[in-house]
């Protein structure tokens, strides 16, 4: 059993309230930072910790903080990205819903480090009840003197507000989030300039994920060096994984970086193995935008090493034989899953969520969805698989923001690892048309059937 840094007090009755949170050591990091540390010293601790952005990109948080423009004389802002919308990912919601003061404490300490006087938590609009929980907790923090004017008599002021979005996945991209926070459509901006130089209202801005900011209080209280002792190599600390799909125990788990995928998947403490003990067919370790791995590449890398729950190990082999840690959205698929149908489902999502600003994304996501739909419904053409491959390649890397890549990668990975299933759909349309996708029976042994058809 690993350390609990983020979820240590998640099950304490009443921990949502300021009073109980404070009794369990809450807001100590604010006291420590403001009384005994300079802002730069807080930044250094975060750098030493090796904490990497937990929203998906994995960029070192301390380094990101050090980029903020301190010379312009403009106000600086910290914006928490709580627009959690990636299919498979629901960890930030857990933190905010059950331990709202942890995020608020992290926002105060981090705002102090960055020299901010006005910060925001941007939360997806669908999490409206969580929005209200956070609003309530922020009011409590103001009443207790942790927010507002002259905090702890230091002369430092901070206002913190929670801001709700309105149902757009694209607003999880940091510049789209900033546009949205300015009251506009969530269209991503071209970078550079980066938000650290010109972000919210053209002021220097840092955008960090909920989980990243929630780790800051522990780092400040216990030192970055202690945090860096947890985990392996450049994957330091603990990480939240949200598990879903065909596993026995879906939910949110905090683990030390470096556990084996096998232990996470199969031990009773975590996912408990496969639901109904059906065979594992594939797995997405980091949310819908990262490549799916087939069963034979899940527990071992292509080189035969144990696959670990780290940034490096999950990505081992690149996209050819690896995937990515992403946001930690761990989606498990058993043998009843139709990969073509699931890939079409993802394409529908990305088409729906494209902001429409870039042609390759706006047109390409819709085109992929259409082609996948016709294959899935038994109307596919022989050339469709190559066509899909061609479309996804033309989207990847050719858009303002990474949504294009996120839409392309699941399609590429599905074709790369499950091409036979696409071929089966095209060659045996009657079997596809007659298949009931919603019964608990295994998808047919396509390799055998495709091979047989090729002989005939």
């Amino acid at each position: 059993m690993g350390q609990k840094i983020l979820l240590e007090h998640a099950n304490v009755p009443g921990i949502k309230t300021y009073e109980v949170y404070r009794k369990h050591g809450g807001y100590r990091s604010v006291e420590k930072a403001l009384k005994s540390m300079t802002p730069d010293e807080v930044v250094e601790e975060v750098k030493t910790s090796g904490l990497r952005g937990r929203g998906g990109a994995g960029f070192p948080t301390g380094m990101k903080w050090s980029f903020i423009d301190k010379k312009s004389g403009k106000p600086r802002h910290l914006v928490c990205n709580a627009d959690e919308s990636e299919p498979g990912t629901f960890k930030d919601r857990y933190l905010m819903e059950y331990i709202p003061h942890l995020l608020i404490e992290g926002m105060i300490t981090s705002s102090y480090a960055l020299g901010c006087n006005l910060s925001y938590i941007y939360i997806r609009g669908e999490y409206m009840w969580v929005f209200r929980i956070l609003e309530n907790a922020i009011k409590e923090a103001y009443a207790a003197g942790w927010l507002g004017k002259n905090i702890m008599g230091t002369g430092w002021d901070l206002d913190l507000h929670v801001h709700c979005g309105a149902g757009a996945y694209i607003c999880g991209e940091e510049t789209a989030l900033i546009e949205s926070l300015e009251g506009k459509r969530g269209n991503p901006r071209i970078k550079p300039p980066f938000p650290a130089v010109s972000g919210l209202w053209a002021n220097p801005t840092v955008v960090n994920n909920v989980e990243s900011i929630s780790a800051v209080p522990w780092i400040v209280n216990n030192t970055g060096a202690e945090y860096a002792k947890i985990g392996i190599g450049r994957s330091t600390g603990t990480k939240l994984f949200s598990a879903s799909g065909h596993c026995k125990n879906p939910g949110v788990y905090e683990i030390d970086m470096g556990m084996t995928v096998d232990e996470f998947m199969n031990s009773d403490e975590y996912l408990g193995g496969m639901m109904n003990d059906r065979p594992l067919k594939g797995l997405i370790p980091g949310g819908s935008s990262v490549p799916i791995l087939p069963a034979h590449l899940i527990y071992k890398t292509a080189a035969g090493e144990d696959r670990l729950m780290t940034y490096e190990s999950l990505a081992d082999g690149g996209f050819a034989t690896g995937s990515s840690l992403g946001s930690g959205g761990f989606i498990v698929y058993n043998d009843t899953t139709c990969v073509v149908r699931n890939t079409w489902n993802f394409s529908r999502f990305y088409h729906h969520e494209s902001c429409g600003q870039c042609s390759p994304c706006r047109e390409g996501t819709g085109w992929m969805e259409k082609v996948l739909h016709r294959i899935e419904t038994g109307h596919g053409r022989e050339e469709d698989i190559d066509l899909l491959w061609d479309i996804q390649r033309k989207i990847e890397g050719n858009t303002i923001c990474p949504l294009g890549d996120a839409a392309a990668w699941p399609v590429a990975a599905a074709i790369r690892h499950f091409r036979d299933e696409f071929e089966y759909h095209i060659r045996f349309p009657e079997k596809i048309k007659n298949r009931d996708h919603f019964v608990d029976e295994p998808f047919e042994k396509v390799r055998h059937l495709v091979a047989k058809q090729a002989v005939i």
Binding site: R93, E126, G165, K184
Partner: protein, 180 residues
Amino acid sequence: MEISHAHQEINITPALQARIDELLSHYPADKRKSALLPVLHEVQDAHDNWLSIPLQDKVAEIIGIKPIEVYEVVTFYTMYNSKPIGKYMLEFCRTSCCSIRGAENLMDYTCNKLGVKEGEVTPDGLFQVVGVECLGACGYAPMLQLGDFYKEKLDPEKVDALIEDCRAGKIDLHKLTITQ
């Protein structure tokens, strides 16, 4: 933009105006437009969950921006409704994790029970069933959103009970009690 010709009574009550003023206070005085999304949520909640063109114009007037700036936002974000909807909109997540755990079957069940197709409003105006993209409840699938809240790990019996609670007026779409 699809324009609804349904009439909507505009009623900016003192309580609603106070809430709008509170939200506006969260942003610098010269950045009032930033409050647009939260203000639209509050105004929509107070007006049967939809925003007519005159109501959108009213929001523009309150914030001090051009009407087109409100239209742009309302048409971009999926949570704003520019035409009347059912009082109880059952928004089923149908993205991968929910789909493989039976979301479509449950949607079909709900539509059949209510005698509507996806997107339609029941003749009494009470219910509407829609499919939406990922709601971030993947580990608790299948699920739906109703007002400000999620209903998770659903099965037909739970859907039946939910519909009965709606009919009995037991469901408050926006009220949250923070009990712990």
